[in-house]
């Protein structure tokens, strides 16, 4: 199913939670709504679900497969909604939870108890919890509960799935596993899905399309590769991962780092350069145009070494080195090193906040 939003606004008194959202979600895609808290991503999801209603504006529309559903209530929209804190019915068994949506159907549409039972069994094996039907939610782990919540949403064969920070309450290891599982499930079901998350890794890894939101607006929309490698502005770049800001110059393709952004800047030829830690090269030799820096601290970044350096004019920067390279250089705290940018992002001045203007 396709979902189209046109000029969706939602105000809470003076506060604009959604400030003119235009968005098209293609059939069968997994779209991630990504943004910091308060960016409006959950409000947008709830508007699509019919749990919140947008301000009525001329020109605003919410279309499912081309039909305007803005006025229809949640129950009529045939959605599967999965809540962050699962919202499982605690007094019902897992099987009864999953069967709930089928049992509350009007008598004419309601399947027989036998049909319901086989549907529940089918879903239990889909979520890899066959044999757990008689347990209560309190007897399950967090990851298992979230899978039950998903099965419950799928039981009514919804037209699309909405997931509100589904893995937000789980620990990192479980989250990783569920992410992979969710992507596989999506490949299998091919159901249009919208996932809300504030975890950029989750969005980049799972989604076909990432929609980045800030202050009730969509800032950028694109494939994970597009948003990560070609961020439209500083906000997107900053939100999708760590970033260093330098004062520098572009010599053709070559970025030249000149120092800290805040330090005095004599020439107007200089612009802010945004460099990801893994694009920052660290070397012992100055070479031509290496920016001198002092190692302040060496941290564990998991698969890489994270080097915190101080620039001569007082600025700070972070570089990420593969462990092999790190050991090859044999870097020590307090040492003098030279920085070069392998790649840097430059944004036009109007895409930058005031404190980055030179």
């Amino acid at each position: 199913m396709t979902i189209e939003l046109r000029q969706i606004h939602k105000h809470y008194q003076q506060f604009a939670a959604l400030d003119g959202i235009d968005l098209k979600i293609r059939d069968g895609q997994l779209t991630a709504l990504l943004g910091p808290s308060g960016s409006g991503k959950t409000t947008l999801l709830r508007v699509i679900a019919g749990l919140e209603f947008p301000d009525s504006n001329p020109g605003s529309a919410l279309l499912f497969d081309g039909r305007d559903v803005a006025a229809s209530e949640s129950a009529k929209r045939q959605i599967g909604f999965v809540f962050q804190h699962y919202a499982l019915f605690k007094h019902m068994t897992v099987a009864d939870n999953i069967a709930f949506g089928l049992r509350v159907k009007p008598r004419r549409e309601r399947p027989s108890e036998g049909q319901i039972k086989s549907r529940v069994d089918e879903l239990l094996s889909l979520i890899q919890l066959a044999g757990f039907g008689n347990r209560y939610p309190s007897q399950l782990s967090g990851g298992q509960r979230q899978r039950v919540a998903l099965a419950r949403a799928l039981a009514v064969t919804p037209r699309f799935l909405l997931l509100d920070e589904p893995f937000g309450a789980l620990d990192a290891k479980v989250r990783q596993g569920l992410r992979t599982w969710l992507r596989q499930l999506h490949e299998e079901l091919q159901m249009t899905t919208i996932l809300v998350t504030h975890d950029q890794e989750e969005a980049l890894e799972v989604a076909d399309t990432v929609v980045i939101m800030n202050r009730g607006r969509i800032v950028q929309e694109g494939t994970p590769e597009e948003v990560f490698h070609r961020p439209v502005n500083h906000f997107v770049m900053d939100f999708l991962g760590r970033v260093n800001v330098f004062r520098g110059r572009m010599d053709g393709d070559q970025a030249q780092l000149l120092g800290n952004l805040e330090a005095p800047k004599p020439s107007h030829e200089q612009i802010p350069l945004f460099v990801r830690p893994h694009d920052l090269e660290v070397d012992r030799q100055p070479g031509d145009s290496g920016l001198p820096a002092t190692i302040q601290r060496i941290g564990q970044g998991g698969n890489f070494a994270r080097i915190y350096v101080e620039l001569p004019d007082g600025g700070q920067a972070t570089a990420e080195l593969p462990w092999s390279r790190f050991h090859e250089l044999g870097l020590q705290r307090g040492e003098r090193v030279y920085l070069r940018a392998r790649a840097a992002q430059v944004f036009s001045p109007d895409a930058l906040p005031a404190d980055y203007q030179i």
């Binding site: 019919g50 499982l88 019915f89 605690k90 967090g142």
Partner: protein, 294 residues
């Protein structure tokens, strides 16, 4: 619970003599009050009731006026408690799930019967429905009698016991939140289905607890009922009023026999209450386990 337990242990280990004296005094005072003002008087009710033997006890309870008082009390409870249960659930749902104008005011008005003296609660109805009251003449013309009759007793009892169910449910429902209800609605359930299948099972122990409190109060209400009843023996006397009448007639054994019935009902409701409270706490703990991060 666990934390409190370890706290007590820690205190016992490091107590100085002042601490020990303070706690000794506190415990002694509590014991004195509980025994002197609660346990002994309650025991004496039963002692007095059976003082003249079983036959006198039994005879005083099969007296027509006594039977009528018991029947009337049960009737009042049977009307007031279900009505207040329905009202209490409705009020709790309204106050915790919806936003509307006057919500805060409604929330405080529910507590009004707790704040005013029961005698005043009774007087309100006399002023409204009595022969000199605002609505009295209309009611009289329609051929009803409210004051000094059973309807008045029922109304006064309802008024006094209004807050019990709602007051028990409101904090419980606030704590539980409404995510499960939203989930039910997103799965296609109607509001009615959501209430019966989700909300009601969620609040059931708290609801039973509130009903138990409400029943205990409805059984024993004296002040408000006394004002509206008119004390017509065998007609408009409830059990507490009947106790008073017998006592004023110096029929001490019969008064205590009736009082002992009320005391048994009170003690029974205490046991039920404790059991329900225990269940409620257990459910709350289970719910807490389900919340992430705890």
């Amino acid at each position: 619970m666990n934390q409190e337990g370890t706290g007590e242990l820690a205190m016992n280990r490091h107590r100085s003599w002042q601490d020990r004296m303070t706690s000794g005094i506190a415990i002694a005072m509590t014991m004195a009050i509980v025994i002197g003002l609660l346990a002994i008087p309650v025991a004496s009710i039963f002692f007095e009731a059976f003082r003249e033997g079983w036959t006198v006890f039994a005879r005083s309870l099969v007296d027509p006026a006594a039977i009528s008082a018991i029947q009337l009390t049960l009737l009042v409870v049977a009307i007031a408690v279900p009505l207040n249960t329905i009202f209490g659930v409705a009020a709790a749902v309204a106050l915790t799930r919806y936003e509307f104008r006057g919500k805060t005011i409604l929330g405080s008005i529910i507590d009004l019967p707790f704040a005013v003296s029961p005698v005043i609660s009774g007087l309100i109805f006399v002023l409204l429905f009595g022969s000199q009251g605002w609505l009295g003449p209309i009611v009289g013309k329609l051929g009803f009698q409210i004051i000094f009759a059973i309807p008045g007793i029922v109304l006064a009892t309802i008024f006094v016991t209004v807050p019990f169910v709602a007051r028990e449910l409101i904090p419980l429902m606030q704590e539980q939140g409404s995510e499960e209800e939203l989930a039910a609605i997103s799965l296609g359930a109607t509001g009615w289905q959501t209430f019966w299948r989700i909300t009601l099972p969620k609040i059931r122990w708290g609801l039973f607890y509130g009903v138990a409190l409400c029943t205990a109060r409805a059984l024993g209400e004296f002040g408000a009922v006394s004002v509206v009843s008119g004390h017509i023996r065998g007609k408009t006397t409830t059990m507490p009023l009947h106790v008073e009448i017998l006592y004023n007639e110096y029929n001490i054994p019969a008064a205590f026999a009736m009082a002992s019935l009320l005391a048994v009902a009170g003690l029974a409701s205490l046991v039920v209450k404790e059991f329900l409270h225990h269940r409620m706490m257990r459910q709350r703990q289970q719910d807490a386990i389900q919340l992430p991060g705890s």
